[in-house]
């Protein structure tokens, strides 16, 4: 295939596949717990981390990860305390993150701050050395879900019953939010901050139409994510369209197809 002859496309595919595996793995838990908006919120908080990193002259991904993790802990604490209405806490962090990013970036005039690149993703510009942290974060996310699978399932299906059994639901809720934070940092590089939540949510939604068990649903979600990334990047290469848009549109197409197949199957 022609597109595989180019190093930048090989790296784009590698980074995209990492995200395509990690994001839906976390996304299925997130959707079923009705916490999907957290992904979008943490992506915007990560942008503030990018801005701070640009000002301080450190790696943007590191800044994004630190702020996203701190944001995850803050969101979870506010959510669990019940002091604010659920979505209001998320809106506070989302707009706050974006506002901090904009203010910090105004101080960074003259510094090469590619805001649009972080907002919309620049997967075809992934450098070879970046692939290491992308793969490392992706592996950490999938490995953590695999390790705590039974515990995450128990709190996702019935948090109260899990608590009664002695399953540490608060710690697992925080863990899930931290996994989202790590995933959005990978997603930021691949599809951009504005579309990261789509890769967490849309493949999971597609899989939920057809899954015949929880494990099968996870597998289908990952498959939908990988297919979206591969087809989307290929479309971007051959038709010269924005890769992030092509990837997310493909995943929405897969969701529509699975919704249709699910109705037809009934």
């Amino acid at each position: 295939m022609e597109l595989l002859q180019y190093g930048f496309m090989q790296r784009a595919l590698a980074a995209g596949v990492v995200l395509a595996v990690a994001a839906p793995t976390v996304g299925v838990f997130l959707v079923l717990r009705r916490l999907s908006p957290i992904a979008d919120t943490l992506a915007h908080v990560a942008l503030a981390g990018v801005a701070a990193a640009v000002l301080l002259g450190v790696a943007p991904a590191l800044g994004a990860l630190i702020l996203a993790v701190a944001g995850a802990a803050g969101v979870e604490r506010l959510r669990a305390s019940g002091r604010l209405f659920g979505e209001a806490a998320l809106a506070l962090f989302l707009s706050g993150g974006l506002a901090v990013a904009l203010v910090l970036l105004s101080f960074a005039r003259g510094v090469n701050a590619d805001l649009l690149g972080y907002l919309f993703g620049t997967v075809t510009a992934v450098r070879p050395e970046e692939l290491w942290w992308i793969a490392g974060l992706g592996l950490a996310v999938v490995g953590t879900v695999a390790t705590f699978y039974k515990d995450l399932f128990a709190v996702t299906f019935d948090e109260e019953a899990a608590r009664v059994q002695g399953v540490p639901a608060d710690a697992l809720n925080l863990l899930l939010t931290l996994l989202v934070a790590a995933t959005v940092v990978v997603g930021m590089r691949v599809v951009g901050i504005l579309l990261t939540s789509a890769l967490l949510v849309v493949p999971a939604l597609a899989a939920l139409q057809l899954g015949r068990s929880f494990l099968a649903t996870l597998g289908l979600a990952v498959a939908a994510g990988v297919v979206s990334v591969v087809i989307g990047l290929a479309a971007s290469f051959y038709f010269d369209v924005a890769p992030s848009g092509a990837v997310v549109l493909t995943s929405i197409g897969l969701f529509a197809a699975s919704a249709w197949a699910s109705r037809w199957r009934r």
Partner: protein, 249 residues
């Protein structure tokens, strides 16, 4: 005399300044089948949630298996069947086996996988409830009665000594209800599981249980169901307009 598995001593619960439970004393002994009845807002579910450690009392003491609830750690000895028939998310893509297995999550250390013993316990529990044939079906596709039995099986897969059930037959059709109580009877008789059942269905509860508890913020009857039916307790609990016909199997 059998040991006390669950005990409330002068327990009060207040929500937003309003007293929901007022100095309630209750002892559940090993082998009891206790039914808790009372009108809406009587504090039945709160009583159950206090015993599960989900609600902290504002006064009094709660003990499970002789231990203060704040120090109690053997939660696998307590099974809980929530009122799920109404609230259950039927689109959740989990099979019967996956749901029942999750009932043992607290028994296996965090981050460890289920072992052969867990799978064997799940199989035994599913067979006991006659649900083995539907083990690979999605829970959301079952009838409400079957779903509620799945939740009982999830609780008993953990092999608890004490099973607490909150309005378990809400939304279940009469046939499903009969199969449900059949399962509870077999658990009580054959496994010796101690049961505490909260319900608004006075007739069904009085028919099934060995001890009846009448609650309306305070506990004002605890004894044999026949006694409550004939000494005017139910009239005082619900008002004279309620006529309850109960008979034993």
């Amino acid at each position: 005399m059998e040991p006390v598995l669950a005990e409330l001593e002068h327990v009060c619960v207040d929500f937003d300044g309003e007293r929901v439970l007022d100095h309630v004393d209750l002892r559940v002994r090993k082998g009891d089948f206790v039914g808790v009845i009372g009108p809406n807002g009587a504090g039945k579910t709160t009583l159950l949630r206090v015993l599960l450690g989900l609600v902290r009392p504002s006064c009094g003491h709660v003990r499970l298996f002789g231990q203060d609830i704040r120090a109690f750690r053997d939660w696998h000895r307590v099974g809980y069947v929530p009122q799920k028939a109404v609230a259950f998310e039927t689109r959740f893509p989990a099979t019967v086996r996956e749901v029942v297995l999750s009932g043992r999550a607290g028994r296996v250390r965090l981050g460890r996988r289920f072992g052969t013993r867990d799978h064997a316990a799940v199989e035994a529990a599913l067979r006991t409830a006659g649900l083995w044939d539907v083990r690979d079906q999605l829970v959301g596709r079952l009838s409400v009665g079957q779903q509620q039995r799945v939740f009982v099986v999830r609780a008993i897969a953990n092999e608890p000594d004490l099973l607490l059930l909150d309005e378990p037959t809400v939304g279940v059709d009469p046939e499903g209800e009969e199969r449900f109580y059949e399962l509870l009877r077999s658990l009580h008789r054959e496994r010796g599981t101690t049961l505490l059942l909260v319900s608004h269905d006075v007739a069904a509860v009085a028919r099934e249980v060995s001890q009846l508890v009448c609650l309306n913020r305070t506990l004002f009857f605890h004894g044999a169901p026949e006694e409550a039916l004939h000494n005017g307790t139910l009239d005082r609990l619900y008002g004279a307009r309620n006529l309850v016909v109960a008979h034993r199997h």
